[in-house]
Amino acid sequence: MIAEETLVQELKKEETRAKAFEVLVNTYKERLYWHIRRIVLNHDDADDVLQNTFIKIFRNIDNFKGESKLYSWMYRIATNESLTFLKQKSKKMGVSDQELKERLVENLEADVYFEGDEIQMKLQKALASLPDKQKLVFTMKYFEEMKYEDISDALGTSVGALKASYHLAVKKIEAYLRED
């Protein structure tokens, strides 16, 4: 795999940009897709947001200062794009953010690209009941197996606060799953 620093340098040079961007899309498409999918839940929406994310990355690569890792910077863009997408969707539908989240989970029952059983369905309901930040931290740590340092970079929250959020989220999810 190409080193991140080399990739950034190649992305910033006009003559190597196209090839480097191809490598970038190939390397990160799956990880970013799953991150987005866990926020927007529906495959078609995730596909739209993933494309928007890569377009934004391409247009803004010159503004990437290298203060954080490229990977964290892309996660930040993907997270913002996903949350903005949900906000616009709730406005278009004329429902609150929370109502939209509940509807998205209900829609999973008829979604051909969701093969979850009863417990996985309940997990989605539990996740929808969490505040955005707690849900993000939980999915990034538990399902995406990211390090706290990387999550901190992507979300702009201290590692200590992330650990607290994660433990709180686990406790709430467990309590929800224990309910009949």
Binding site: R17, A18, F21, E22, V25, N26, K29, E30, Y33, W34, R37, R38, L41, H43, D47, L50, Q51, F54, I55, F58, R59, T84, K87, Q88, K91, K92, Y113, F114, E115, G116, D117, I119, Q120, M121, L123, Q124, Y142, F143, V170, I173, E174, L177, R178
Partner: protein, 177 residues
């Protein structure tokens, strides 16, 4: 063989000193294992067949391959000068006629609904502090930011339920004197 009155068994050195720590570690480990088993390892999402193979061409067609191609200038530029001169004459004639019959379109001609729709559908990346610095606070009232009008009774009910000591609010009672 001489029997030891106390005990004939031996234990590793420091066994009892470290017993508590080892016990607590095991309890924590078991607790963690039980906790994890409650939450499923996978969340059940799937993607269409070969979806990831198609991401790359779609994204590249909207980014790298969409960049404007450089069109070389033709050596014979007289054609362009001629076309530009004709266009300039047309623009002059039209702008002269246009100005005499119609007014310039300004901000006031935009329908409120169009502005609201734009603001609803676009994020403009401004923090509440930035918005506050543009709009003078004196020009705003609570009604401008609330979606539903506040009933006085609801306010009093809220304060009654949520404020322990009404003195904390430092209300000016002059109206009630």
């Amino acid at each position: 063989m001489k029997k030891n009155k106390k005990n004939s068994f031996d234990i590793p050195e420091g066994y009892f000193e470290s017993f508590n720590d080892r016990l607590m570690d095991r309890i924590k480990k078991e607790e963690a294992e039980n906790g994890e088993s409650l939450i499923p390892k996978s969340d059940g999402f799937t993607v269409p067949n070969s979806y990831f193979d198609n991401v790359e061409p779609v994204v590249l067609s909207k980014t790298v391959k969409k960049e404007t191609k450089v069109v070389p200038l033709r050596p014979n530029s007289n054609f362009y000068y001629g076309a530009a001169a004709v266009a300039a004459i047309f623009i002059l004639i039209f702008s002269f006629n246009w100005n005499s019959t119609s007014e310039t379109i300004g901000f006031d001609d935009l329908a409120n609904a169009e502005i609201e729709a734009y603001l609803d559908n676009n994020t403009y990346g401004m923090s509440s502090y930035e918005i506050a610095s543009i709009i003078p606070i004196d020009d705003l009232s609570f009604e401008d930011v609330l979606e539903n009008a506040l009933e006085e009774n609801n306010i009093l009910e809220y304060l009654d339920e949520n404020v322990d000591d009404i003195e904390d609010l430092n209300l000016d009672y002059s109206d009630y004197e």
